[in-house]
């Protein structure tokens, strides 16, 4: 498929060599996981500080709804943590890390938020 231009340069072959895939730095996985964790915690805090009295006014309903949506990140936090759990199991290590517990706590907080809304 590659062909040479009038200049005698095979541009496609050069492009293939010049644009080698780039390996992402290892820290990126950790960083992504931490960002998800932060989003999860922010959503959990939002729900924990939820004033039920304020929910009598429909104008206040948007904010918790946003928090619940963001709280979905807890799921991914758990999903990504599963990689760690698998690697720990391979090394014979057991028990939840603080990060595991924090993600699970956040997920529970999101569920509690839902429960409070629907019990009212």
């Amino acid at each position: 498929m590659s062909r040479e231009a009038d200049s005698g340069i095979d541009v496609e072959a050069l492009l293939r060599r010049a644009m080698a895939p780039i390996e992402p730095p290892e820290r990126l996985g950790t960083r992504f996981q931490e960002t998800l964790q932060t989003l999860t915690e922010m959503a959990a805090d939002e729900l924990e500080s939820w004033e039920l009295a304020a929910m009598g006014d429909p104008r206040n309903w948007v904010r918790p709804a946003v928090a619940v949506a963001v709280g979905g990140a807890a799921t991914t936090g758990l999903a990504l943590l599963r990689w760690r759990q698998i690697s720990r199991q391979r090394r014979g290590v057991t028990g939840a890390t603080p990060l595991d517990r924090a993600a699970e706590d956040a997920a529970r907080a999101v569920r509690r938020g839902f429960d409070r809304v629907y019990r009212r």
Partner: protein, 181 residues
Amino acid sequence: MDKAELDERFSELYRAHLRDVYSFAYYRVGNHHDAEDLTEQTFLQAYRHFERALNESDGRPLRPWLIRIAHNLAANLFRDRSRRPQTSIDDDDTTTVLRASHTTEDLVEERDELRRILDAVEDLPDDRREALIMRFALDMDNREIARAMGRSDGATKVLIHRAIKQLEGIVATTPTRGKRS
């Protein structure tokens, strides 16, 4: 699909395509710092819409969808900054790529040639540059590129053809560093 399965599918997506997204981001923005930001934001957006994407993909690969997210975010990044990439592709990386398979004598000439082609790619319009990144860095076929760019297969084929022709023109008129003096 329950949440556990959704989690597992997203984890698979992340593992399978992290390098693709990062490579696209790196060649698009020209430095590792922005490439990391762009990659992270791409996967965060992907997570937000993952279930819907799975439902609508009808079994088709999700790589074009991921790259499309990165493509849109990159456009936003440059629009926000109102500028082109700050730096060209790092010289160090070009050296690293070459070092593995070339002798010392070849290295300078080869590096100069690759630098010239990467500089030329940066002179292309955004859509042509992105199409070339997808084709040559990610090894995507025309159909995948078309999906990633929201174009028809035919329009994508024409886009890539024109990009290569333009690149040939730029390279042909740009002297190598060693030949300038």
